[in-house]
Symmetry: C2
Subunit: 342 residues, 2 copies
Amino acid sequence: MTTVGEALSALCTPALVVDVDKVKRNAQMMIERCQKLGVQLRPHMKTHKTLECADIMTGGSRRCIVVSTLAEACFYADHGFDDILYAYSLPFDKVERCAALSERLDLFQVLLDHPQALEQLKKRPLRDGRRWHTEGVELTGIYAHCGNTYNCRGVEQIQAVAQETTSFTLQFMEKLKAAGITCKSSIGSTPSCSHPVKDMAQLSEVHPGNYTFYDVQQSVIGSCSLEDVAVRVLTRVIGHCPHRNQLLIDCGWTGLSLDGAGKLPTGYAMIEGHPNLKLLSMTQEHGRVEPISGPLDYSKYPLGSLLTLIPYHSCATAMMHPVYHVHSGGRLLGKWTPTRGW
Amino acid sequence: MTTVGEALSALCTPALVVDVDKVKRNAQMMIERCQKLGVQLRPHMKTHKTLECADIMTGGSRRCIVVSTLAEACFYADHGFDDILYAYSLPFDKVERCAALSERLDLFQVLLDHPQALEQLKKRPLRDGRRWHTEGVELTGIYAHCGNTYNCRGVEQIQAVAQETTSFTLQFMEKLKAAGITCKSSIGSTPSCSHPVKDMAQLSEVHPGNYTFYDVQQSVIGSCSLEDVAVRVLTRVIGHCPHRNQLLIDCGWTGLSLDGAGKLPTGYAMIEGHPNLKLLSMTQEHGRVEPISGPLDYSKYPLGSLLTLIPYHSCATAMMHPVYHVHSGGRLLGKWTPTRGW
Ligand SMILES: Cc1ncc(COP(=O)(O)O)c(C=O)c1O
Ligand SMILES: Cc1ncc(COP(=O)(O)O)c(C=O)c1O
């Protein structure tokens, strides 16, 4: 068992470690960016699913968040969060649970993308004088995730997509207005909100999520620099395989997501401080590492020595871990426990 | 919340469901196969990591198991299991925890594959008159996993690899014997133990793990038929995308492992009863499904309707779920909760 104040090397591996100072800085920069722009930030919880990080992202207000599962919605509601937007096309099997949350919270928002979903809501009227904002039909707002920013490379491309999505959304709002409907608008991904365009000020809110952790993918896109990435998977060398010019590490696909296969020259992750190493493949509890070129100098990687993986996709890798180890400047501060399930 | 006796359709999706009758049958057949052969079965827990399934695999004895992580070892030890083999090259960061387990259990076995690992053990002598079986050096046994059976197609190829691994192992035992060392031998994968060869009777024990659940991969290899596969991921249709000839389902890579990408014509899984459907891609909480050929008949897949995924790799998919829903003949019996972490 590790104790507060110990070095990261005290951890058994594999372990997901979170640099809380980077998390706070990334969160603060997003808060300031949105303030400067004059748009409401509604941070998405899907990347970390913890209370602690949600507090950092909401500046302690515990209001105005997005979630990707109803399990997250319930978890945050149970801990005093409110104004929760469940960013998922209303699942017909979860109408009752959505209704219960609507009756319990000041504001719980669900997405509808089909007339049948509206039918489902109408079949389950809310109690205590509450009502779905649909009878009539009243639209609360429109929601779009500019997921196509993920194909961008560099700020210019990101801003072109951000501009396009914003313009489409604003034009659509105009059309709705012409038809007598005024409502809110919420868009945004981590790339577009890391490099917002001016017109986004005309939106009601933006909803990025990945930005507190960031990851290699975001640095490749251009949302952040590698230095901004706040999460790592610590792993140890557990085998030398000179006949294959490879190392074995104690991180397999239970500790690092398979997401990102084939995307990086360094394989499933980047190995910090070792740009010539590639995480070639993983089994349940093992990773195979080889040099991108040349023979491996095993004296640099003794059995038991630590290696640090920067994940390709932090949402997918955080999801593999039942607990995150939080540190400041390499000294352990404690643990964050995410919620799981649906 | 679902209650015992309800139909599977009462579950919110995505949900991992386990057919307990198939689990029991698969486990019983392995027990009988090993008895007939005259070899000790030491089942591996890595696929499910639950107490309930461990009880089924050990026939209730709670003795003689293999684990893939120290977290599993502790979990099983805490619940009265003993004679636990930790099938992992001794990780230098976990020597103290291994020693504690050795002092606590009647028998706890670790693997050594390097002289430095021996040094590590010697630095931590056991208390209470116990000792590592190494001073001297005494070898308890040798352990091999015929993982190369995973490249086989059909019983003949599986048995060729099983024979080869068995012969190598037995020859090695002979050499050890000639050098004055007698020890145990443990080999086996789910493919080789599903179709054992006679010579395996000369081994001390076999250690398959996946066989209680099986999966599409095992059926492709030839270890089992698709009917033997005991696990499914239930999912629901949540969107129609006629402009792309696709369906959206509520299972993404948090509910089904990305392992197996590119291996099946039906994508990341097989969709039971719909051989023409392909699970093309997944995001965190969405799956995209399209027909292998022809236009999609949306009337067959109404919004909210259930689809049943047969996972490519059950170890990897079970690992994504915080709870498994257990049923008999489609009626819910309860939940199994796996252990996680390292
Ligand atoms: C519906 C929805 N909203 C918001 C987000 C947050 O975007 P990002 O992950 O780029 O921060 C996502 C991310 O997948 C999303 O799917
Ligand atoms: C070391 C070890 N032993 C035993 C097994 C069990 O084999 P199977 O998964 O084929 O049942 C595995 C599986 O990966 C393993 O890695």
